[in-house]
Each structure stands twice: as C-alpha cells, then as structure tokens.
Symmetry: C2
Subunit: 446 residues, 2 copies
Amino acid sequence: MNDYDVIIVGGGPAGVTAALSAKNSYPDKRIALIRKENNPMIPCGIPYTLFSLKSVEENILGDAPLAAGKIEVINGEAVDRNDHTLVLSKGEEIKYEKLVLATGSNAVLPPIEGRDLEGVFLVKKQKDYLERLRVAAHQATNITILGGGYIGVEVADELSKAGKKAIVVEMLPHLLATMDEEFSLKAEQILTDEGAGIVTGKSVKRILGNKKVEEVELNDGTRIKSDMVVISVGYRPNLDLIKKLGVAYQEGRGVLVDDYLRTSEKDIFAVGDCAIKYDFFTGDLTNIMLASTGMAEGRLVGSNLYSIRVVRQYPGVLGTFSTKIGNKAFAVSGVTEKRAKEKGIDYTIGTSKAVDRHPGKLAGASEVYVKLIFSTYSHTLLGAEMYGGDSAGELINMVSVMILNRMTDTDINTLQIGTHPLLTPSPVAYPVINATIDAIVKWFKH
Amino acid sequence: MNDYDVIIVGGGPAGVTAALSAKNSYPDKRIALIRKENNPMIPCGIPYTLFSLKSVEENILGDAPLAAGKIEVINGEAVDRNDHTLVLSKGEEIKYEKLVLATGSNAVLPPIEGRDLEGVFLVKKQKDYLERLRVAAHQATNITILGGGYIGVEVADELSKAGKKAIVVEMLPHLLATMDEEFSLKAEQILTDEGAGIVTGKSVKRILGNKKVEEVELNDGTRIKSDMVVISVGYRPNLDLIKKLGVAYQEGRGVLVDDYLRTSEKDIFAVGDCAIKYDFFTGDLTNIMLASTGMAEGRLVGSNLYSIRVVRQYPGVLGTFSTKIGNKAFAVSGVTEKRAKEKGIDYTIGTSKAVDRHPGKLAGASEVYVKLIFSTYSHTLLGAEMYGGDSAGELINMVSVMILNRMTDTDINTLQIGTHPLLTPSPVAYPVINATIDAIVKWFKH
C-alpha cells in the first residue's frame, strides 16, 4: 500500500494549484495528485481547441510544475475511502494524512429529445472527446449552439471566425445574460457582424434527425438546419466520489465547506468547482465556477493543510470573468446592475467611454467602455463591467483588487495610476477613474 | 476687470483635471483656466509626434472636456498678483477666490558647449517647437540623444523604428536607470536589435559643429557623427510666476504644499510638476514628475477647494510608470530593488515569468516577467517592475492598487483574478501571484 502525507484528487487547475501550494508550504511532505484524465485540459482554452489552436494537444495543462515540485502524479480513479485510506477503482489503497478534493464539474446534458443523435455534442473537458468535437466542427457547415452563456458565445465566435454558419439559441432575452444589457447588445452585434445567427427568448423543443442530427426545433415551431449541435447550458459539480466519502454536500451545489475550505470530515478539504460557493457581497450560495476562483481556493488550502497559517479566511466568490468576442474583450467583476436589483442592493452607477491609446490616433487603439456600480450609501465599489481592447483582461483585475479592498469613490478618485500613449487611455480619460467621477457627480447633485 | 471664483493657471493635464474636478464638485462656481500655450500637448505623447503620429497637431490635449464643463479658457500669461487678483502680462487683472497653480515643468538645458548650434534640440512641450523638432528628425540621418531616461529611450525607439541611426548617450551604467538592471538590459537589447547605438557610463564633453551640429564629443574623447542632437536630461518645475506670488517654494523642487496640496498662502493650491513631491514610502522629497500623479492631485484639489470634502490626504507619490520599447511594455510602480537599497529598506524579492496568453501557442502571446519587492518583516508589497505585452500597461496599475492598499503576500496569494486564454496568462502561471508565491517560499524556508 502506498502512503502519502497529502493526496489531491483531481488534476484541473484547482487541484494542481492546491498540490503546488502544499509543496511550497510543507516542502517535507510527500504529496500525490490522483487524476482520471491523463491529459487534463486548460478549461478556459477549450473553445479555442476547435480552430485557433492547431490541435487539442496544444491545450493540455502541462505537468512541468508538478514535476518541478516533485509531486507524484497517479493516473487513476478514486472511488471510496476507509478512514484515512483512499480506494482506487482497481482496488489499490493509498493512505493519506490530508485529502483535498478537486473533482471539478461536468457539462450538463439537458433532457432534450434527440440529444443522442450523431453530431450532438457537449463542451466536455476530456481530450479524446474534444478531439472528436474538433473533427466534427471542421466537417460541419451549419452548427447550432444551445446556450448563449460565455462558453456558448466563445464557441460561436470561434466557429464564425472559421467560416462556419453558427447559430446560438438562448432562452433568455439576451446572450451573456450574466452581464447587463448594453454589454449583451454589443456582443450580439459583434457576433452578427461575424455572420453568426442569434435566436434569443426561445427554447429548444427537440433535436431532429435520422441517426444524425438534421434540424433543431424551437418551442415556436421554427426549425434550424443543423448538421452539428453543441449543447452548452452549464456545468454541475462532479460529486461521484464525494457521495461515498461521508462528507456533507448539497446535490447540484457541491461539498459544504467552511471559510477555510474544510469539509465536514476532519482532514478533508474541497476546492474548485466541486466545492460549494458563497457570494462575496451577500454570503448566499452562488453557482459561479471559475478556474481562477478554484485556484485562489487551492492556494489557501495548500497553505493551511496542517494548521491555519493564512488567517485571512476566504471572502466568498467575487466572480471575475473575462472573454473576447471578435476583437473586443468583455469583462465583469462583482455585482452587475442586474444582480444589484435582484439582491436588493441600493446602488449608484458611473460610466465612462475612452480610447485605450492616447492620442487616439495611435495604431492599435480600441474603444473601452467601463460601467461601475457603487453602494449608494457606503460608497464602496461593488462591481464593474467593461468592454475594450485586450488590456481589459488586466483592467478588470485592477478593479477586482479595488473591490476586494472595499475601496470607495474618493479612494479611486485620487488613485495614482500609470498611463502611456502606446498602452493605455489618456490619464485625462482613464475610464475607471472617470466612471467613478460620473458617480461622484451624482452624489454632489443629490 | 474679470471676476471668477476659481482660477487655474496652466493648461496641462494637472491643470485641466483640477478645473474639471472643481466644476464637478462646485457646479455653481465660475471657473477659468489661464494658459500660455494655445495648443497644449499631451505630455507623454510627445515622443510619438516625431513619426508614429501623422502630425504634432494630433497630440493636442483637446478642449472638449473644458468646453463641456463650461470652463472659460483664457489664453494669456499670469505674471503677478495683488491679494486675490491675478495680473496678466498684458496688464489685465482677474479676481479669484481660489487659485490653483499648475505651471508644470520645463526641459533642462545643461551647460554643454555647443548647445546653441543649429540641430540641437530639447524635448520641450510647445507645439511650435515640436513641429521644428519633427521636421529636423525627418531630415536627419545620424541623431544622438543625450540622456537615457524614459523620454530619451522613447525617442531613440521612435527614431530607430523610422530607420534613423539613433545613438543614446547616458552617464550612468545603464539606460532606464530608474529600473533594476535586468530591465535595463532587456530594454538595451531591444534598442540594439532595432539598430540603435547605446553608449553608457560616459558623459558628453561638448557638441561640435560649424553653425550646425556635426559631432558629439564624449569625456573619453570619442566623437559621434551627429547631424542632430536631442537633449533629454530631465525637467525642472516652472517657478517663473510662482516666485512672484509670495508662496513658499524650494528652488528646483517646486511649491511647498501640505497633504491637501495647499500652499503657504491662503486660497492658493499647487498641483502637478510645479508642486513639491513626497515619497509614498519614506515621506522624503522625490523628483518624480508624472501626468498621472499631477492628475490625482488635480482631482483632490478640485474636490477640496472650499472645504476638505475628501479627507483622505494625499499619500505621497507612488511613482507608477509605463512605457513601450520595440514590442515590449516596461512598467514600474513603487520601490525598485535599487531604491530599496538606497533607502535602507529590508526587502524580499519574488519573480515570475509567464506567457500572456494560454495556452502560449495562441496568437499574440508575449513573454511577461514580473519582479515584486516585499517588506521582509511587515510582508507588505512595496514595489513591482515588469516587462511584457501591451497589457502590462494595466497590470502595473493593478499592482499600484495593491501597493496603495498595503496588501501583503497572503492577501495576494488568495487573490481572485480573472483570466482568459486570449487576454491573460494562465491562472496557473499568473505572474503577479506566482512572484508573490516565490517570495512566500523564501519566508517558509526562513
């Protein structure tokens, strides 16, 4: 029987990060990572395995960091435990002192008639499956995507750029429904300009075909010619193993964890998509699943396996996303206006538009639009949404740092930032500051 | 006699921002901005007026925001005051309740023999002057730049890209001496690859020529063939008016101001390059002059003209720069290793290198290198340096927000950031976090 100090189950970003953090924090411990997938994927790179990358292979989350940390990788499937011993599917038993669950999530397959037809795919995370998806996408002409969230839209963008006729079907009134309407409209415009079709406010009744998919039928009877269908309606925590371990969990939500990601069982932790998530602002449950969140959790758990070293407990999921559609980056952090309304938050909006080079006539300039949401009475920044050039990918992270530090309007108004003609908007137009000023002016008028 | 509530002297970024902030904060006040330059330049855009922009005209700091704010613009030169009345050069008198000085800085002309020869230029901020500089640069072939700071290097980069033979001469051992050596070396490599010449550790003895410049002679006797010379050895506060107003100032340093940018005279404020600057970490005097710093000051003063509304006093100059040399962005915020040594700060370094797309085989990927400096005992982040793709321009601002909030290693280790294949490094490799972990590992080993 093998014997380790720390075992991590799951080879995705949260698991790898927990393993590396454990090694950094406790260099003398023997650490192993058990994973089902021999070639784990970079999750957010998956849509780009269709065309942008030369092969699915290029999207493998490499083992170099694990090897450098001398973390043993065991390819296998954990299926049960006896006290501090983990049982693998082939009967092997492995002892541990500390166990970290990072089993991730699986793509949801909704109960739609025709979902088993040839040519109907999910956006799974397995390399072999994605290789079949890639081949099918290269061969197909008319591809219908069911679900207009981030993944669905990224797939539609990727397909459209490759010259495929992609149509996205979304039940809600707009694509990217986690963002406010003006951002959805912008994204829809870009997809339309690329030649993609968009159907919103309609649901799918069934998928039709004779062995192979031929059409998608909507609830209003419309039929969309489709030689391929990609279903992308969300992910659900993978609790297969977890249900056997005796840890408390909530069906469809994940393993219950405390502020230090500790489960109900001593010496067992959970991180990433399989762990339940609490909202940063209201503390209620949230369904946000992000690699970057899982990794923050992984780093906290890795540091705190044997004792609470990092006392800053986990503040809940802020929810910082970014994506790129056409040539525009879109990003969100924290509360949107839509969510503020849902959650009953009294808010004040500030907006600003600029060009991300100065003067704007310099090459590479792209319009950037920032919308900030402040608490009307405590004046703290609650959230931000933006679209812009590629650097919006880091600009949203700046805003995340602001929100996590509970900065207020006046903090941001006197912020010292760097600007450069070839890299950022003009300091006079800097949109995060100017959107803040827009909110401040509303307060002065109050 | 004209009569205003608030008068701002100076039409650069600090002055314009103070005026706009005053208008936002006190919408009923009558506000005027007096400026000598009818067409003020965007200061950091100046190097790019040589070739990247189609004309110097394109670099004018536009009046649209002032017009939108109904701020009156007076083209004229203030030369003196009587109590609350400002006197212009043509004898006109203008009354004010509050006066904001934003007279900026002037390029330093060192006492080098031959500096008056035709073809010798400074990097001034006046449009007419820059138009002559542009014409000369287009006509010249061998251009020697005296001074290898940011501006000198930007000019060399701009000239080299345009096919000119540029040679930079710097007295110190390296170009960009405000950064640590590894960054200087990288910048020097890029300039060399572009075909620029670099001479470091040598000073200029004299400029030679018969009416027009022909050669630059160094202290070791070497002569550099030059049909044009650009001197870029720094800027000094413009105190011409200030010396007549009775406010306290320090020669070569600027107007003395308190934490709210108030001068020794009631109702007179100073912002931007003409105001004295204190270091964020040590509180001592610093020579850093940045548009973005001046604008943070302008916003604070504009809000607080009639009473202290924004109680957060000015924390001192953090010093956040960014620039681009060749295809690489370079950026600094806060304390460098070099400065930590000078100031006697006990520090711990963390570094990390990554590719700013993930997987790294995606188009547009650029290597990014981040060096962080932490206080060894209080564990707060003190500074960052980096080079990378264009998004380093916003990444450095994220780090600035971290430093201003006095975040520690563990705060950063559990940070929630957003990542996306087409926009940022992989979450596993995110260099600001991984550089922090590099420092943490040193602490664990301690």
